[in-house]
């Protein structure tokens, strides 16, 4: 069973969000990394890119396939996790410890549309 972390927000497309002030720290869930298998590349946006809630902002790739990443919130990318450029396997090792991007949110109320850990676990159980 894939693990979840309490206190985070979760999207239907298997991203998690940790909120620090007005910044959303975004990663993929343990369920997602497990479903993808060994990751070989993480395609990330650039700092200062504007991203929209529900829209693609990058991708994670295994040997076999690419899987798009969708932003849970709108805003401006303020930081990307450069460690993933050389070590995408960090997401396999600990998907919650290793974030992908940090976003300065333009509309924090979008967080209300996301799930909590219990709701996300229930969704995964049905997949």
């Amino acid at each position: 069973m894939a693990k979840t972390v309490e206190g985070l927000y979760y999207s239907e497309s298997h991203e998690w969000v940790k909120v620090e002030g007005n910044v959303a720290i975004v990663g993929i869930t343990d369920f997602a990394q497990h479903a993808m298998g060994d990751l070989s590349y993480v395609d990330m946006p650039e700092v200062d890119d504007e991203i929209e809630a529900g829209e693609e902002f990058g991708a994670v790739e295994s040997v076999k396939a690419a899987s798009d990443l969708f932003s849970p919130v709108s805003g401006t990318v303020v930081e990307i996790n450069e460690a993933l450029e050389d070590a995408p396997e960090l997401l396999n090792e600990d998907a919650f410890e290793n974030w992908i991007i940090k976003v300065e949110m333009s509309d924090p109320s979008q967080l209300e549309a996301l799930m909590d850990a219990a709701a996300y676990e229930a969704m995964c159980a049905n997949e």
Binding site: D38, E56, E61, V63
Partner: protein, 367 residues
């Protein structure tokens, strides 16, 4: 969905091994047992085995068998010795490809075995039967009664001889086979494969395939899924029907002209179209492309020059053996010279690449 998919005779063993199962060519097949990278490396460095029982076996026999197979096959089987295998294609009259296949010259006169792709068995059988008017031949689709294991890798010969007791396998040359028996049932052992490594393909009954699988597994041969079958064949420059070959691609465009014997053979289906294409020159061709970046080109991504699309990726990976992002792509002829700078569009960005040969790994076949 899965109710409509066929299962090979090894299905229960794949499930028991915990394989990730997925549809392929009308069958539910193992994609990986542990992970693609480890299975890939097992074949490159030791030995792996694949359930390829989904492949099709079509037998052609009769007084006109040689003439008929030569009529539908692009390579030249005239007078080939018994036990010899040739790779080639069946072509449509317009030169595009019905399927790519192996033709085995059996150990009796006028008997041939055609080994075809799983996804094309029904189409191929229908096509072959539709061409046989006027030829005294019998065509039998025996795909359901044959199982097949591919034993591949530098240690394949050791396992074939020492573990399975197939002593004659050691003496086989590349693209030859011999007939044996497994507990009284017919078995074919050929020095062929789809990985770029030495190895064997073993055709036998369902029961025998199950026994051989268990014996090889117990001896330490790594079970390998279709995931690494694709990464291995791709690195070795081998085409996959539906990607580098199709009913919209000719063998010349795929860089496989050496298997189409326009000069040696006066007649076969598709010959005129291929001869005409040779005469006129190609408008596009499959090439290799290597990216400098780590981004991974995938099938369907556009190849561009200055924002204009000049081709499309047919297969691409982060190559496991070379740790490079590489692909093969169908590209307009003007941009197919080795060293040509092109770009590949991957989602929202374009990445610079260089045209290379379409084989990314030095193959280790036994000659």
């Amino acid at each position: 969905m899965e109710e409509n998919l066929l299962k090979t005779c090894l299905y229960d063993k794949h499930v028991a091994l915990g394989a990730l199962m997925s549809p392929f060519g009308g069958f539910i097949m193992p994609i990986q047992y542990t992970n693609i990278t480890d299975e890939h490396n097992a074949v490159r460095k030791a030995a792996g085995m694949f359930d390829v029982s989904h492949m099709g076996e079509i037998f052609v026999s009769g007084p006109d068998a040689e003439k008929f197979v030569n009529h539908i096959f692009s390579n030249n089987i005239s007078g080939i010795p018994e036990g010899k295998i040739l790779y080639g294609m069946m072509l449509y009259p317009n030169g595009t490809v019905v399927d790519d296949l192996l033709v085995y010259k059996e150990f009796q006169p006028d008997h041939f075995l055609l080994v075809v792709n799983a996804s094309n068995i029904a189409k191929d059988y229908e096509w072959i039967c539709a061409q046989k008017e006027g030829y005294d031949v019998e065509v039998v689709n025996a795909s359901d009664s044959w199982g097949e294991i591919a034993l591949q890798g530098p240690l394949a010969e050791k396992f074939a001889v020492e573990t399975l007791g197939l002593e004659p396998a050691a003496a086989l040359g590349f693209y030859t086979y011999y007939e044996a028996e497994w507990k009284g049932e017919r078995m074919l052992v050929s020095r062929t494969g789809y990985t770029g490594e030495d190895g064997f393909e073993i055709y036998c009954s369902h029961a025998a395939v199950n026994e051989i699988w268990d014996i090889l597994l117990a001896a330490g041969v790594v079970p390998c899924g279709l995931g690494c079958r694709d990464t291995l064949r791709f690195e070795a420059g081998l085409p996959l029907y539906g990607h580098e070959l199709s009913d919209e691609i000719t063998p010349l465009e795929a860089g496989l002209g050496m298997f189409v014997k326009v000069k040696d053979k006066e007649e076969f289906i598709g010959r005129e179209a291929i001869a005409a294409q040779k005469e006129a020159g190609l408008s596009r061709k499959i090439v290799g492309i290597e990216l400098q970046d780590k981004a991974i080109p995938r099938a369907g991504y556009p190849v561009e020059i200055e924002g204009q699309q000049v081709g499309v990726v047919t297969t691409g990976y982060r190559s496991i053996s070379t740790d490079r992002s590489v692909c093969v792509a169908m590209v307009d002829k003007a941009y197919t010279e080795l060293g040509t700078a092109v770009e590949i569009r991957i989602r929202k960005k374009v990445f610079p690449g260089i045209v290379t040969k379409k084989r990314f790994y030095e193959t280790n076949y036994k000659k």
